[in-house]
């Protein structure tokens, strides 16, 4: 078996820890794999719940992602374990979206994501904090209503910082299609937020 620590030299202690855990998991140590799960489950859930705005479905997708990661540990070829897991989670989220598309009876509820609020500036006054929370709520509600493809592209590009080429590879479409989805998605968001744009114009 390929020793990941030997092939992937990294000074980043987090990456090094991840590679050691993954190496041990590949040798059959389930606890080591579960340590990785504990480290990344919140982050992956936070990522997936933006793409699949239903907490139960998002949780199922994250569980599937960890199953898939465990099944495909041998396929890991070095690099960042976090990026590898994120990609698996994004694929699981897209699978969940496709499943939802086949059973469209229940539209997504307004994104049940009010458990988290954007970090407010410590010096921000209560009015500003309230405004931030309201923006967040309105934006999540609008994001839940645009198409899966548009939401995925916008979340990956605007929120997670993937570039067009990476999103194109992840979603198996051309770069032009990714751009188009992002542009149309933003236009759709503007339409959905038309009555509340004053919130954002500040």
């Amino acid at each position: 078996m390929e020793d990941l620590r030997a092939t992937t030299v990294t000074d980043d202690p987090v990456q090094r820890r991840d590679l050691i855990l993954l190496d041990r998991a590949r040798e059959g140590d389930l606890d080591a794999f579960n340590d990785l799960v504990v480290v990344y489950q919140d982050m992956l859930f936070a990522l997936v719940v933006r793409m699949v705005p239903d907490r139960d479905q998002a949780a199922d997708a994250v569980q599937e992602a960890f199953f898939s990661a465990y099944r495909n540990m041998e396929g890991f070829r070095g690099g960042s374990v976090r990026s590898w897991l994120s990609r698996i989670a994004i694929n699981a989220a897209m699978d969940a979206q496709r499943l939802k598309k086949r059973r469209p009876a229940d539209p997504y509820p307004e994104l049940e994501d009010d458990t988290w609020q954007p970090p407010a500036d410590a010096s921000a006054d209560p009015v500003t904090s309230s405004l931030t929370a309201e923006r967040h709520h309105a934006l999540n509600g609008a994001l839940a209503q645009i198409t899966n493809d548009q939401r995925t592209a916008i979340v990956l590009y605007d929120v997670e910082g993937y570039d067009y080429a990476e999103i194109a590879e992840l979603t198996a479409v051309s770069v032009g299609t990714v751009k188009s989805r992002i542009h149309r998605g933003r236009l759709a968001l503007r339409g959905l937020l038309a009555d509340r744009m004053d919130l954002f114009r500040g």
């Binding site: 799960v37 919140d42 859930f45 936070a46 949780a59 923006r135 929120v159 503007r190």
Partner: protein, 242 residues
């Protein structure tokens, strides 16, 4: 003068009508800085400069993008929010998901005896069936060689010379076959009880030995194939019961 149904004046209505012809996606691409073509950039810039609605779109999209970016990456959000459940794998999950073929996974769970049973169950049936088929084909070919087909021993025998009719002993040249060896007519003055092989009898004899070997091998193949097939079926049933 304001339109009584919409409240817009004529100038606004004209602007709305004009905007209906404008390409909003072009404006969105321009707002995102994604236009590489100079002509498209110029078109988009002209729309934003001359059309109030396009200008609003351009401004709003920038605002929306900023708001989305401010909503926090997954890593930032994970610092303050928790997943609704624990996603750690159980030992059962791990056993179920461990890499390998389905047969190997089942075998791992059941032990070495099951591995043997599964191996026989998986490969015994096709191999057994193939062996039995070879056996049947061999038997057919052997039978044809022994029987009356072209190239059979009997036709080879006919080619070697005229056969005496039963009860016509001594009335003409005669041949007989012992253990596949063709014996020609006794030479004049020779004892017919000690026949001498005729020219060509050696080939016919070799063919006879080969045919017998073929038949024997075919029977062995057929028997082994059937035995393997039956054993595989029994093992498969045993594994299924477990």
């Amino acid at each position: 003068m304001a339109d009584p149904t919409t409240g817009h004046d004529e100038g606004e209505l004209a602007a709305i009508a004009r905007h209906a012809l404008h390409d909003e996606e072009l404006v969105a691409a321009f707002a995102a800085g994604d236009l590489e073509d100079a002509i498209e950039q110029e078109r988009a810039r002209a729309l934003v400069e001359r059309c109030a609605t396009c200008r609003d779109i351009h401004r709003d999209l920038a605002v929306i993008r900023t708001a989305i970016r401010a909503s926090g990456t997954a890593a930032e959000r994970a610092a303050t929010m928790s997943a609704p459940r624990d996603f750690r794998l159980t030992a059962d999950d791990a056993a179920r998901l461990r890499p390998g073929s389905p047969i190997a996974r089942v075998a791992r769970r059941l032990g070495w005896r099951a591995r043997l049973d599964l191996g026989v169950a998986a490969f015994g049936r096709p191999v057994g069936a193939a062996m039995a088929t070879f056996g049947v084909v061999g038997l057919l070919i052997g039978s044809l060689t022994l029987g009356g087909g072209p190239g059979s021993l009997f036709s080879a025998q006919s080619a070697a010379g005229p056969t005496s009719a039963p009860g016509a002993e001594g009335s003409g040249p005669a041949t007989s076959t012992i253990d596949g060896t063709n014996f020609g007519p006794a030479a004049s003055g020779q004892d017919t009880k000690n026949p001498v092989p005729v020219s060509g009898g050696r080939d016919t004899g070799t063919q006879g030995v080969a045919t017998v070997a073929l038949l024997g091998g075919s029977i062995a193949f057929l028997a082994l194939g059937i035995a393997l097939f039956v054993a595989a079926r029994r093992r498969a049933a045993t594994v299924a019961q477990r």
